[in-house]
Amino acid sequence: MPSTALLIAAKDLRAEFRTKRTLNSMLIFSVMVILAFRFAFTAGDGGPAMVAPSALWITFILAGMFALSASFSKEKDQETFQSLLLCPGSRTSIYLGKMLSSFILITMVELFSIVAMAVFFEYDFGGPERLAWLAVVVVLGTLGFVGVGTLVAAMTMNTQMREVMLPVLVLPLVVFTIIMPAVTATAKVLGEAGMADVGAEVRLLLTFALVYIIAALLLFDYVIEE
């Protein structure tokens, strides 16, 4: 990771932790979604075990949209994006920096959501082996989501109704490639009968994370040109 990307990510996080505007929105939103799931489903529907994997990923993806959108809209509103473009070095560093800061913010919210889930659903996430696999699935799924989401957020930064455009464009791209395998894998990892093999899903998530990131690196220069 080039140092420009690290500098940009560090700057983003420093600015965010000073006001915590995006982070607080994401945390509040996550609690609301989890509570909605908690009370919308009863034991008759198969109980928490059935709902938990979908609830988790819907929370991750929707809360993640806040981070992706804010990452560029803050630069746009302060017109600071121009000053990033004025820096020497490759512009893909901007993509990598933005991706990294969004990834870190979203991962923090995901951790929080998993804990909130355990509390509200009185859910037992099982031993270290399950948690380790859950971590692998969450990290790979998030990487792919942030990889494609950062590109789309840069594209939609200059459009009207960017807050709507972002999810409208990102959701179709991630439903089959990330959300479905991630939900399946999460269900397998957390399965009541014991853990099932998630090799296939993990490979799929890894593949799409790489495909999205490589595609974004190739396209980023074009989407930000005037």
Binding site: T4, L7, I8, K11, R14, A15, E16, R18, T19, Q78, E79, T80, Q82, S83, L84, L85, L86, C87, P88, G89, S90, E225, E226
Partner: protein, 237 residues
């Protein structure tokens, strides 16, 4: 230092720059005048690699704009209408961030930041978030940001707008010492007197091309006013 030949830029069907030629030798202070919408900001954006031209060649400090964007960015400093600084970060954090992006090492960076804070009269606001600064103070920060990496070329788009007389004098002093250090300046302004006072050369941009260029020493305020008015009269016809 800056060589522009046949520069054309279209936005949709509108030709904003139309075969513009311009040459700015190293160490020159050039003021560009022209009516609203003539293409001045567009020209500056192209020089700053923020917009891509449709045709024409541009070199800055020997670098070709079409393929050496990163090298050009490392030798230019840009001051525009908006300050391009982060509101949540303090004045000094902003300068450190941009300094590091331009590759300044930790030791040199701190000295450079202090020097700029002092010379622009920002030292007492160094630890304030830039969003609470007044407009003029933020403009001073923008100037410091543009200078942090010791550029060789300054591109300025109406840099005096919003500055009080004192801040305006601070900017003038900063620009003079930049020029004395051998720097090249391209400044867009609507203030004919200010443009004349600071510059060695004057250029008039009308309808996407340079309508006229003169040495500043060969004219005075009245002559300049006349030149501008006669070009503007021809422009409307």
């Amino acid at each position: 230092m800056i060589e522009i030949k046949g520069l054309t830029k279209r936005y949709g069907n509108r030709k904003v720059l139309n075969g513009l030629d311009l040459s700015v030798p190293a160490g020159t202070f050039l003021s560009i005048f022209g009516p609203n919408g003539a293409g001045k900001t567009t020209l500056l954006k192209i020089l700053a690699t923020l917009a891509r031209p449709n045709s024409g060649t541009v070199t800055v400090d020997g670098w070709d704009l079409a393929k050496d964007g990163a090298e050009i960015r490392s030798v230019i400093g840009v001051v525009s209408h908006s300050p391009f600084v982060y509101g949540e970060l303090t004045v000094e954090e902003n300068l450190r961030f941009f300094g590091r992006l331009f590759g300044l090492g930790p030791a040199g960076l701190e000295a450079r930041v202090r020097e700029l804070l002092d010379s622009l009269g920002l030292a007492h606001r160094a630890r304030d978030r830039s969003e609470i600064l007044s407009r003029g103070m933020r403009q001073r920060l923008a100037i410091a940001r543009a200078l942090v990496h010791r550029p060789r070329v300054l591109l300025l788009d109406e840099p005096h707008v919003g500055l009080d007389p004192k801040a305006s004098a601070v900017l003038d002093r900063t620009l003079r010492s930049f020029k004395d250090g051998g720097g090249t300046v391209v400044m867009i302004t609507h203030d004919l007197a200010k443009g004349l006072e600071m510059a060695d050369r004057l250029a008039f941009l009308f309808r996407g091309r340079m309508a006229r260029e003169v040495e500043a020493a060969r004219t005075d305020a009245a002559g300049l006013r006349q030149m501008y008015d006669s070009l503007a009269a021809g422009d409307n016809a």
